[in-house]
Amino acid sequence: MIPNPTPDAPPGAAGPPGPGAAAVAVAPGGGAAVLARLRGVNVSLLREVALLPVLVILLIVGTIVSPVFLTVSNIAGIGQQISALGVVVVGESLILMIGGMDLSLESTYGLAPMVAAWLILPVAAYGSGTQLNPFLGLLILFAVGAAIGFVNGLLIVKGRLNGFIVTLGMTIVLAGLQNGIVKAQSLFNLPRAFGYLGSAYFGQVPVSFVVAGLIFVLVGLFLRYHKTGRAIYAVGGNPAAARAAGIKVERIKIGVYVAGSMLAALGGLMEAGRVSAVTGQQGYGEGIIFSVFAAAVIGGVSLKGGRGNMIGAASGVILLGFVQDILDLANVSNYWIEAIDGGVILFALFLARIVGGESTAEEK
C-alpha cells in the first residue's frame, strides 16, 4: 500500500501526544518519527482552522462594502441569522459522519415547529384548537423531530434502503404535511415561550446564537471525547471494522438519524422565533438544504463518512452568514441574489478544497 502522502490525523487522534506516546515503540531512526509526529500535529491543527484566512478576507471585504458591516448590531444580526442554519448543520454533519445523508432535515425544520404551533394556537389563528400548553408544544416539537429521524433510520438502516431516495421522498411528504395541516396558512401570534429562543437577546447577544454556539461546543467535545462520539467516526470510517470490534453499528446509525432530526426541529424553532411566524415556506420552500450541505462540506465534513469536526462545520456556517450579509449590504438586486449566492458557495467549496488539502478531496 502506498502511504498517504498527506497525513490526515483525525481530531481525536491529533493533539500533542501524551506521556503514553513514549511507550509506543518508535521506529528505528526515532528522529524522523518524532519529526513526523510534530508535522502531523501541525497539519491537523492547520486543517481545523483552514477557513480562518477566508473568514478574515470576508471580514475585510464586508468592511469595504459597507461601514455598517462591522457594527455590533449587524454582527449580532448575522449571529441570529446563522444560528438556526448552524444547528441544522450540526445535525447534518453527524449524519454525514456515519456515512449517511438526510435531505429531509429541511422539511423537519419546517414541519416540527408547524405541528407544535398548530397544536398551541386557537382555531382563529389557523391552529388546531387544542390550545396546548406552549411548553408541552415544545416537547411535541422535539418528539416530531425524533419520530422523523427514527423512521428515516429504520428505513435506511434496518430496511437497507438508499438514504438519498428515502430522505428525498420524506422531504416531499413532510413538506406536504406542513402545508396540509394548516391549509397553506402561516401561523402568527406565537406564544412567548415559543418565540423566545429565536428572538430574545442577552444584552447585545442573541439567545439563539449562544444556544447554537453551545451546541457546537458540546457536540464537538462529544465527538472528541465520548465513546459514542468516537464510535461515530469508526462507523463512518469503516462500518465492517467497527462491527468486528463489537460496536453496535446499527444502533449508532439510527441514533444519529434521530439526533440529527431533533437538531433540525430545534433549528426550525429558532427560525420561527426569529421571524415571529411559522410559514409554509420555512425549510423546504426556502430550499435551505443546499446551504446545510454546503456549510458542512466547506467545513471539511466528508460526504463519504468518517471525517469532519465541529470547528470546520462552524467555520462553514459563519462563512455562509458573512457572504449572505455582504450580498445584502451591497444591495445586490433581489432578482440576482440567488444566482450570486449559489455562485459564491460553489467558489467557497473550491477554496475549501484548496486550503483543506487531501481530506476534502473526492477519490480519484
Partner: protein
C-alpha cells in the same frame, strides 16, 4: 544475466519519499528477458513502492525507469505502460459490480464489446488454468481468494513482456500454485521477464533464478538463488534484528504446546479431550451457507489454554467456521456455546461481550478504521472500559491503554495518533491483533492471522497468540490454510467440503500428512467442479 544489451526493465538510482518516510533509496534493479527475479523483504521494506513504480502508478522522486534502455512512458499512460508490464496486485483491483469476464478484460476490450467472445475467452482461460469461476459471476459475490484469481487471469490475457506478480500465491490452493509455477516457468522459457514478490521464501527458491532483497528501502542483496541458503536470505531481510524461533519453522519460544496443554489441564482439573463442561468453546453440529464456503454439521471444542487449528482448502469452510463462532456471520443450524452458554448467532457485539475475540480474515475490510489512529483502533473494543460514567474518555488514557499491547507486539508507528493507513501491512495486522487482545477475550478466533505478513512479524504474531493462551488460559480457534500457522496448535481439525474430515492430536504435525488430509477428497471435489463448469 547473460544478455549483453540493455535490460528489458531497469530501475536506476530510484528514490521515493512519502511525507517524512523515505520509502526507497538508491534502488538499482534490472530484469532481462527470460529471467525470473524474486524480490523479498519485510513488510515496509519498500516492495510495494517498487511495484507501484514499475506498474506506472507513481513516479520516483529521482532516478529513472527504463524499458530496453529507453525511458519509460509517463506515469498515467496506462495503455502504453501495459505493453511492457502487467501487474497482478496484492490488493484486489477488481470492480465489484462487474462480471468476471468484464474484469478480466477491463480496459482492454475493443471499441465494440462482443460479450459472447469476451465470455468465451474468459472461460478458456479459466479452463486452461483449472480455475473454477464462472465468467458471468458478479465479482462482488466472490471470495477474496477468487478475486485474486480474476486478477491473475487478467494479467495472463495481456501478453506483456514483463509480468509482475505481487504475492500471487497468498490466496491460492496448492494445486493452483503448482499450475501457476508451471505457467511462470513456461513464460520465462518463452522470454518473458518475471518479477516475483513473495513472503514465502521456499517459493522464491523454487521458481526464481535470482533473488533481490530490500531492507528499509535499500537493495541490500542481489544474487543467484542457488548461491543462497534460506538463512542467508532471512538474515539479509531482517538485518540486525533477532528473528524468533518460529520463523525457522520450530516451536515458538513461549512453551511448547504440549507443556501448555498439560498446564491447562491442571488448571481445569480435567483431561482436555474429555469432559465437555470444562471446555471454553463448544460448537455443536454447526451448519452455514456462506459465499466463503459452506459448513455442514461441524462439532468441536476448545479447552482452556488450548489452541485448536482448523485448516483445509479455501472453499472447505475454514473461514466460515471462524466467522460464525465470532458472530460475524449467522448460521443455518447448530449451536455455539461459550462456557456452556449459547452465543447469540450472527451478532458480533454480543459475541464480543460474551468474551469472543475476533481477528478477521481480511484486515483491510474489517480489521481497522484506516484514518483513525493506532491507539484508537487498538482500544476500539474497550471503549466502554476506558470511558467514565458519562461515557467520556481522554485520548491520553486511550494511548496509555494501547501502549503495553502495541509494545508487546513490537508495533512500529510514529505515535499513538498515527493513522493506521500509513502503516505497513504487518503493522496493520498487529493493530488488528492488538484490538482483539485488548478486551481480554476468553476465546480468540483468528482467521489467517499471518496472511501477507513478513517472516519476523509472522513469528511474533503467532508467539503473541500462543503467549495469551499460555498466560490467561484463553482458548484459541486458529482458522488458517497456511500450514505454517499451525505450529502453535495443540490439535488441528481438517475440514473438507464443510465437514470435519480428520483430526491431528499429536504435535508436531507432519506437513505431508496435513496436505494429504486437506486434499484427501479434493481430487473428487475438483472433478465434480470441473463437471459442473462444463
Amino acid at each position: 544475466m547473460t544478455s549483453s544489451g540493455p535490460p528489458l526493465v531497469g530501475l536506476r538510482g530510484v528514490d521515493k519519499r512519502f511525507g517524512s518516510t523515505l520509502a526507497l533509496h538508491g534502488v538499482d534493479l534490472s530484469l532481462t528477458a527470460g529471467q525470473c527475479l524474486g524480490l523479498v523483504g519485510r513488510n515496509g521494506a519498500g516492495k510495494s513502492t517498487v511495484v507501484s513504480i514499475l506498474s506506472g502508478l507513481i513516479s520516483p522522486d529521482s532516478g529513472s525507469v527504463s524499458f530496453e534502455g529507453a525511458p519509460a512512458p509517463r506515469v498515467g499512460d496506462v495503455s502504453r505502460w501495459r505493453e511492457w508490464i502487467a501487474t497482478v496486485f496484492q490488493h484486489s483491483m477488481v470492480v465489484p459490480d462487474l462480471s468476471v469476464a468484464e474484469n478480466v478484460f477491463l480496459g482492454s476490450t475493443d471499441r465494440f464489446v462482443s460479450w459472447r467472445e469476451m465470455r468465451a475467452r474468459t472461460r478458456d482461460i479459466m479452463r486452461e488454468w483449472g480455475f473454477d469461476i464462472p465468467a458471468e459471476a458478479r465479482c462482488r459475490d466472490l471470495a477474496v481468494e477468487q478475486l485474486q484469481i480474476v486478477e491473475i487471469a487478467r494479467a495472463l490475457t495481456r501478453g506483456a513482456r514483463c509480468v509482475l506478480l505481487d504475492e500471487p500465491t497468498a490466496a491460492l490452493e496448492r494445486d493452483a500454485v503448482r499450475r501457476l509455477f508451471a505457467r511462470v516457468r513456461q513464460m520465462v522459457d518463452g522470454g518473458v521477464a518475471v518479477l516475483y514478490i513473495s513472503h514465502h521464501l521456499e517459493e522464491v527458491f523454487e521458481i526464481c533464478q535470482d533473488v533481490a532483497v530490500l531492507r528499509d528501502g535499500e537493495l541490500v542483496l542481489t544474487a543467484p538463488a542457488a548461491s543462497l541458503s534460506k538463512d542467508d536470505l532471512v538474515a539479509a531481510m531482517v538485518g540486525g534484528v533477532q528473528v524468533s524461533a518460529a520463523a525457522h519453522g520450530h516451536q515458538p519460544a513461549s512453551g511448547g504446546p504440549a507443556a501448555r496443554r498439560a498446564e491447562a489441564a491442571d488448571q481445569a482439573g480435567a483431561s482436555p479431550a474429555g469432559n465437555g463442561d470444562a471446555a471454553i468453546l463448544r460448537v455443536e453440529d454447526l451448519s452455514a451457507s456462506s459465499p466463503r464456503g459452506r459448513l455442514s454439521g461441524v462439532s468441536l471444542q476448545v479447552m482452556p489454554g488450548e489452541i485448536v487449528g482448523v485448516t483445509g482448502l479455501l472453499s472447505a469452510g475454514v473461514a466460515t467456521i471462524g466467522r460464525v463462532v465470532a458472530g460475524a456471520e449467522g448460521q443455518s443450524g447448530g449451536k455455539v456455546l461459550l462456557h456452556g452458554k449459547v452465543v447469540e448467532p450472527g451478532r458480533r457485539a454480543a459475541a464480543q461481550r460474551a468474551g469472543i475475540g475476533y481477528i478477521p480474515e481480511d484486515r483491510r475490510s474489517e480489521g481497522f478504521v484506516a484514518h483513525l489512529g493506532v491507539a484508537e483502533n487498538a482500544t476500539m473494543t474497550i471503549a466502554d472500559r476506558l470511558s467514565d460514567s458519562l461515557g467520556l474518555m481522554r485520548p491520553r488514557r486511550r494511548a496509555a491503554a494501547a501502549a503495553p499491547i502495541t509494545t508487546a507486539l513490537s508495533l512500529v508507528s510514529s505515535g499513538p495518533g498515527q493513522p493506521v493507513q500509513e502503516l505497513s501491512g504487518g503493522n496493520q495486522q498487529k493493530v488488528t491483533v492488538a484490538r482483539t487482545l485488548a478486551h481480554d477475550p476468553r476465546l480468540i478466533v483468528a482467521i489467517t492471522p499471518t496472511r501477507g505478513v513478513d517472516v519476523a512479524s509472522k513469528a511474533l504474531l503467532l508467539d503473541a497468540l500462543a503467549g495469551v493462551a499460555d498466560r490467561t488460559g484463553a482458548g484459541v480457534l486458529l482458522c488458517s490454510d497456511e500450514l505454517s500457522d499451525l505450529v502453535i496448535c495443540d490439535r488441528v481439525i481438517v475440514l473438507v467440503r464443510g465437514e470435519a474430515f480428520t483430526e491431528f492430536t499429536e504435535p508436531p504435525f507432519d506437513r505431508d500428512e496435513l496436505i494429504l488430509a486437506t486434499e484427501g477428497l479434493s481430487s473428487t471435489a475438483e472433478a465434480g467442479a470441473e463437471e459442473a463448469a462444463q
